[in-house]
């Protein structure tokens, strides 16, 4: 009788930096559900993948669940897949890291379950044709990809329902393809419809398989647990009794049918991912400067760890920071989740700190490095002290785009901000204007007379009448404890007759403390008087608590308390203090009084219930309205301390 081989591969994953209450919920709604059901069907040959971060969460927070899971795996007929250690998207990793991730992923599975995985689950199934080398080096025989990748390479339907062999540089790798249509019907339609679909692939030998490979959270988290459980139990019960559909694991399938080949596959992933990424996963790094920032921090830290011959502890932090979720965005979350970005930075900063401490490299007061950190062809300035890193981008308005606190246990980036981008799903929102500059810190503007907080926040066009914000500042000099930038910008209020203004902006770093001071001097370089509204914008991220979920709050001038989702306008202020449960107070203090705007930088995300505002960071703007005679200067200092 003709039959279809069915491979049911369930992928369990929670990102590095997940909030505790989310973990609890998913654990309760989904993972407990699945284990319960699987234990009730011990004879079923499931294929299971557990991501490294999730295994580590289970170890730390849900050890009882983990021990029940291990028991089940040891007794059951399941095949456990390996993969990467921190669910890292391999194509954006340096080649040695690909191997490291895959090996560590394998070792973790072996250590937890005592089984040797043969196959690898690729994070987001992002394929790159050079991967066979790393896969083989890490001891994997095959990978699970999407049929989309096969179709794009010119394979036929029959080809993507059989195991194929590919090779790169003479190194082989087996490939199984996830069937896209079944992902859209299982578990969303009736069990009968699923079976009807499966039977469509029946052959006498059963050598055509249908592979369902998707998220475990589809059972219990994406829809209500009770109906999800009922659906799954009925489906498994029908499967148990089916004669024309046989549940196999990939290894069982291979034992019977082996491979075909060869096939050659373009870089790619599942259909939606191809759409979001514009066809190529590394495009996310290009699209989001914040993704690029994290990615290049990764590359920078890697080089540092290698140079310092860092201990294993540092490397563990480093690979943990490679978890893919914070580096991209499809429809939901991803890079737009501040806590995920926060965690990525924390791990990289910790890796860096551990390595530096171990080697004593920062016993010198500070190190200042000019390097093209972000790979844009221009140099950034990285200032490293024992207690903090300050990353400055001269050619982007001389801004501070990363401020790493490096204190043990408190590693975090105070400028872990997110800019607002044009997303396809926001194209219909008429009032939405993406940010025209990266929302980082110490960016200068001159506001048109009458411009207010909402103009700033919502990017009203042409309210900044100067060219400072995106100016290519000159890195004039640097030395022990300072970096000086200069820029001659123009106030274009009078288009016919723009006014030159020289800005000298000096970052001063306390070498052993935790204060950054930025000295400002604007000078009228014209032979006539000018009246600009000189302004400095900071965007900072009070640290988020993974445990409490409580949102941070701030105090203006010691008297006005607000939470970070509220705005504040003042005609005459000097200080803002940021409070969070997860870190001590961070103060922002202007030497001189100024008008002040404070507001949350929020992104818009789409949900089933419509658009939702997602808090990203807190924006703070000081505005000095001044009159300057020819050659006259206005100076102030703004401090950030913690």
């Amino acid at each position: 009788m003709p039959k279809t081989s069915f491979i049911f591969a369930i992928h369990f994953h929670q990102p590095v930096g997940q909030l505790r209450h989310v973990l609890d919920r998913v654990q309760r709604n989904s993972y407990e559900l699945l284990l319960r059901v699987m234990r009730d069907f011990p004879e079923m040959h499931f294929t299971l993948h557990f991501s490294g971060p999730l295994l580590l969460y289970w170890r730390e927070y849900y050890p009882d669940f983990l021990s029940r899971l291990v028991d089940y795996v040891k007794k059951g007929n399941v095949e456990v897949l390996g993969g990467t250690f921190s669910e890292a998207a391999l194509p954006i990793l340096p080649s040695e890291d690909r191997v490291k991730q895959l090996k560590m992923g394998r070792e973790l599975v072996e250590e937890v379950f005592g089984v040797e995985p043969r196959g690898a689950w690729l994070p987001e199934r992002v394929w790159d044709p050079t991967l066979p080398v790393a896969l083989r080096e890490a001891g994997y025989e095959y990978v699970i990809l999407d049929d989309e990748v096969g179709y794009r390479a010119g394979l036929w339907k029959g080809d993507v329902h059989r195991a194929q062999l590919t090779e790169y540089s003479g190194v082989r790798s087996g490939v199984f393809f996830i069937d896209a249509p079944i992902r859209y019907i299982l578990p969303w339609r009736t069990q009968e419809e699923v079976f009807d679909y499966l039977k469509g692939f029946a052959t006498e030998s059963g050598e055509q398989y249908v592979l369902w490979g998707s998220d475990a959270e589809k059972f219990g988290e994406w829809w209500d647990p009770a109906p999800a459980e009922a659906w799954l139990r009925r489906f498994l019960d029908m499967l148990r009794h089916a004669v024309d559909v046989e549940l196999l694991t990939p290894s069982e399938y291979l034992r019977r049918f082996g491979y075909q080949g060869p096939v050659y596959l373009y870089p790619g992933s599942y259909d939606k991912m191809m759409e979001w990424s514009g066809g190529y996963f590394p495009n996310f790094v290009r699209k989001y400067r914040e993704s690029n920032n994290m990615h290049k921090k990764m590359l920078y830290v890697k080089e540092k760890l290698e140079q310092l011959e860092a201990p294993g502890e540092a490397w563990l932090e480093y690979v943990t920071g490679q978890c893919n979720d914070a580096y991209w965005h499809g429809l939901f979350g991803g890079i737009y989740l501040a806590h995920l970005r926060q965690a990525v930075y924390e791990h990289f900063i910790r890796a860096e700190r551990v390595a530096e401490e171990r080697r004593g490299t920062l016993d010198v007061a500070s190190r200042i490095i000019e390097t093209d950190f972000d790979y844009d062809g221009r140099k950034e300035v990285l200032v490293e002290t024992r207690r903090a890193n300050y990353y400055i981008k001269p050619d982007d308005g001389g801004t501070l785009f990363e401020l790493d606190v490096k204190e043990p246990g408190d590693e975090y980036n105070l400028v872990n901000t997110m800019s607002r981008y044009g997303e396809p799903y926001l194209s219909g929102v008429a009032w939405y204007r993406p940010d025209w500059y990266r929302r980082v810190s110490f960016r200068e503007h001159i506001w048109r007379s009458g411009a207010g907080i909402w103009d700033w926040l919502n990017n009203t066009p042409f309210v900044d009448v100067s060219d400072f914000a995106l100016g290519r500042y000159i890195l004039e000099d640097y030395g022990e404890g300072f970096v000086r930038l200069v820029y001659t910008g123009r106030d274009w209020s009078d288009h016919e007759n723009p006014k030159r203004i020289l800005l000298v902006k000096t970052y001063r770093f306390s070498l052993d403390g935790s204060v950054l001071e930025v000295e400002y001097r604007w000078r009228n370089m014209e032979n006539s008087k000018i009246k600009p509204r000189l302004s400095v914008e900071l965007t900072l991220t009070p640290r988020l608590s993974y445990e409490s979920g409580e949102i941070p709050w701030y105090t203006v001038d010691g008297e006005f308390n607000k939470n970070v989702r509220e705005h504040h306008v003042s005609p005459w202020s000097r200080s803002v203090v940021l409070h969070s449960q997860a870190f001590r107070d961070v103060f922002v203090e202007n030497e001189k009084h100024a008008a002040l705007w404070v507001a949350p930088i929020e992104t818009l995300s789409r949900t089933e219930k419509g658009l939702r505002r997602e808090y990203q960071a807190l924006g703070i703007v000081f505005i000095h309205e001044v009159e300057l005679e020819p050659g006259e200067s206005f100076s102030t200092k703004i401090k950030v301390g913690w």
Partner: protein
């Protein structure tokens, strides 16, 4: 035959009037000849009414209806015969409207002098040395005047800058030389008997070619300018002149020690106060003093303007960091210093350098550029470009329009790099001044600059600078950045900071070998000038040429 007496004909000479580099050559060359026992006489218009150039009146004659005063003075042993009167009184040395009148009258005045030199107590010349196209008519006049006198000196024609000036036969006629005056010339290895009309035809109406044809030997200021430059002498005037061509380098009378003494004399007290030292100033002390103080403290009349009208126009574009009257604010910070000097003409390529500046600044933010430039009419746009650049980069650029003697040598002794971005440059005395004060020179690979500057990429630690293609701001920016970073790396020893900014592998490897490479390059530069590009050497070259001219005269 030993040459004992030489006359030089020129339109400018430093003690009388100087507009460009030419003004340095006759007086310095002549003074060195005097030291070698030759009587040297410079004959030129005074470009001022009689008596204003420190000369005494020796004669008053009517030359073709113009009352010409013959003046006389001496300077550094050289005798100056100055003609004034009529158009020769016009102080605008090269003013178009009086130029041809001056040229014709100077020729006639020379004719008079050839017949009356004894009255002025001068010896009969063995050689007459004619400088640039303005003296070509006088050269013909000398031939005409002495045609039947039974003696004639060797005639040497000297091209400093080829402008391919057109000469009309009428101009020659105005000097009293008939079109059908028959005489013999040498060209292409043959001796020809020609009329003036024929000669003009053979010269294609070009003054400099005519001068070369009519002279016994003609010279220019560098081999490259003579033979290699696309717009150089033989490539433009014709290779049939090759056999009678020669080279006389320019020189400089600047010496490192003299320059330093002069600076200490002028700035010693202020320098002591600024540095807190009594002596033993390092070059870096001088740089800091120059940038942070002296540059902003030019005395009352400086910078001096040669043309008030022109400066009035330029002043409209000035705002901070310019101060009133073309003075400038000092810099607020120290940094590797690049200087350049010269007229604001297209030839000097200052606009190319201005275009290169932002590119250098972007990669070497502490670099300082000081432009010491002389505005000239026709170069207003260049002046404007520099004014804008200075205002846009107040931490990196200063421009001094006009003459500023108080800081000129100080700037040279403070600098780390000299930029010579000329589009063409027959010789390039500014490169000598720069090198003798210890600066590597980033120079266009043209004319004399190609011979003066030894490219470090080729000569290693014996080099004195870098060559770049003329007119290319990108290449110029790279070379200046490399050279400035190299010098600063060498001075500070901070290779981590400066080495990555040096694009040229050869420079990096030199620094890796010897951190003091910068100091070695400075020494090479000084020594090369003091050994090879002195006026004494130039005088030796001239004497060889003079002897050749006497030997080959027809």
């Amino acid at each position: 035959m030993a040459v004992k007496s030489v006359w030089m004909l020129t339109f400018e000479a430093r003690p009388i009037v100087k507009v460009g580099g030419l003004g340095e050559v006759p007086p310095n060359l002549a003074a060195s000849l005097v030291k070698k026992g030759v009587e040297a006489v410079i004959v030129m218009p005074s470009h001022a009414p009689a008596g204003l150039r420190g000369e005494e009146k020796r004669a008053e004659v009517d030359i073709g209806g113009t009352r010409v005063i013959v003046g006389y003075r001496e300077w550094r042993g050289v005798k100056y015969v100055l003609f004034s009167g009529g158009p020769l009184d016009d102080p605008r040395v090269y003013a178009e409207d009086t130029m041809m009148d001056k040229v014709a009258l100077l020729a006639k005045a020379l004719g008079w002098l050839l017949l009356n030199y004894e009255k002025l107590g001068l010896a009969r010349p063995d050689v007459i040395h004619f400088h640039d196209w303005h003296s070509v008519i006088a050269l013909l006049k000398a031939r005409r005047e002495l045609a039947d006198k039974g003696w004639r000196p060797g005639l040497v024609y000297h091209i400093h800058l080829l402008v391919e000036k057109r000469v009309e036969p009428s101009l020659i006629a105005r000097a009293g030389v008939e079109e059908d005056f028959r005489h013999r010339v040498r060209l292409g290895g043959r001796v020809l008997e020609v009329t003036v009309r024929d000669a003009i035809g053979m010269a294609r109406g070009i003054a400099e070619r005519l001068g070369a044809i009519e002279s016994d030997v003609f010279v220019t200021v560098s081999r490259t300018y003579l033979r290699e430059d696309r717009d150089g002498v033989l490539n433009r005037l014709g290779w049939d002149l090759e056999e009678k061509s020669g080279v006389i380098y320019n020189g400089t009378d600047w010496r490192y020690r003299d320059a330093m003494e002069e600076v200490l004399k002028r700035h010693g007290n202020a320098l002591a106060k600024f540095t807190g030292k009594r002596d033993g100033y390092t070059r870096h002390d001088l740089r800091r003093y120059f940038l942070l103080q002296a540059l902003g403290n030019m005395p009352g009349a400086e910078p001096r303007q040669l043309d008030k009208e022109l400066f009035k126009k330029i002043q409209e574009w000035l705002a901070p960091p310019f101060k009133p009257n073309g003075k400038v604010e000092p810099f607020e910070t120290d940094g590797p210093l690049v200087i350049t000097t010269g007229r604001l003409s297209r030839q000097k390529g200052i606009d190319v350098l201005a275009e290169a500046v932002p590119r250098v600044v972007e990669e070497l933010g502490n670099v300082k550029f000081v432009f010491l430039v002389l505005p000239v009419w026709g170069g207003e746009e260049y002046a404007r470009q520099l004014a804008e650049l200075t205002k846009d980069y107040p931490y990196n650029v200063r421009t001094v329009f006009g003459i500023a003697p108080s800081i000129y040598r100080l700037a040279h002794l403070s600098a780390d790099v000299f930029a010579a971005p000329s589009r063409w440059e027959p010789f390039g005395i500014m490169a000598l001044e720069a090198m003798v004060t210890g600066n590597p020179v980033v120079a266009s690979a043209v004319g004399g600059l190609k011979e003066i500057v030894l490219d470090i990429r080729r000569h290693g630690l014996e080099g004195t600078g870098l060559h770049v293609s003329p007119g290319d701001p990108y290449e110029l920016a790279d070379a200046i950045r490399d050279m400035a970073a190299f010098m600063e790396a060498s001075r500070t020893g901070d290779l981590d900071r400066y080495m990555p900014k040096i694009g040229e592998a050869k420079l990096r490897s030199l620094l890796e070998e010897i951190v003091d490479a910068g100091e070695i390059i400075r020494k090479n530069a000084v020594e090369r000038v003091e050994k090879k590009f002195t006026w004494d050497n130039a005088a030796d070259m001239a004497l060889e040429v003079y002897e050749r001219s006497v030997a080959s005269k027809l």
